[in-house]
């Protein structure tokens, strides 16, 4: 089935550990995005990518690394997890940067202890 999938759905990690959140889409959309959702902040953009090997920072990029070697995958890595990175992370894909709808995955709930 076409769609966008994130894995894992839930993750608990310790402070200082590296953790990677996976995102895969089957639409062949050019654009992919990572957002985090926190109470009181709504959805904030972490990074986005316009195509393979092209990535750009969003509003809250510090502490995160992304890569896009294949169009369909856009992993998000927390190099050294901190408690402030406890959040729900959403991956999305779209045909455009910002004037068409973006399709979101189901989210990954990450807890850093």
């Amino acid at each position: 089935d076409a769609g966008i999938t994130q894995s894992p759905r839930y993750k608990i990690t310790e402070t200082g550990r590296q953790v990677t959140l996976m995102c895969h889409q089957t639409w062949s959309h050019s654009y992919m995005f990572w957002y985090r959702q926190d109470l009181g902040h709504g959805l904030r953009l972490i990074y986005y990518s316009a195509a393979a090997d092209i990535t750009d920072k969003g509003e809250v990029p510090d502490g995160y690394v992304v890569s896009r070697s294949k169009t369909e995958n856009f992993p998000l890595t927390l190099e050294s997890a901190t408690r402030s990175q406890t959040s729900v992370y959403f991956c999305a894909s779209s045909e455009s940067r910002g004037f068409t709808e973006a399709f979101f995955g189901q989210g990954t709930r990450l807890t850093v202890v």
């Binding site: 709504g42 959403f90 910002g98 709808e101 979101f104 995955g105």
Partner: protein, 111 residues
């Protein structure tokens, strides 16, 4: 600088009545406004959009109004149903900028 603001964290409406969710925005760089709906433990889903060249867009029970002079948009849901209970996010974007979201408004439709 938050470019879209949803000033009401929550809203309660009786079933069958109108729900009005509001969003204010700053500057005028962006061309498109999109509303998303989010249920718990799910990703946001697109609801309805409006281009800055329009004043109104309607899709079934959902209508979005854009008041460019006031830099304000609103989402009307008529009639409201219990299944509409969710968090609604206002967002804006353009060909040059990714979607920027507001903080969301939690709508509760009471049967």
């Amino acid at each position: 600088d938050q470019q879209v603001k949803q000033n009401s964290p929550s809203l309660s409406v009786q079933e069958g009545r109108i729900s009005i969710l509001n969003c204010d925005y700053t500057n005028s760089m962006f061309d498109y406004f999109l509303w998303y709906k989010k249920y718990p433990a799910e990703g946001p889903t697109f609801l309805i959009s409006i281009s800055s060249i329009k004043d109104k867009n309607e899709d079934g029970r959902f209508t979005v109004f854009l008041n460019k002079s006031a830099k304000h948009l609103s989402l009307h849901i008529v009639p409201s149903q219990p299944g509409d209970s969710a968090v609604y996010f206002c967002s804006r974007g353009s060909g040059n900028t990714p979607l920027v979201f507001g903080k969301g408004t939690r709508l509760s439709v009471i049967a």
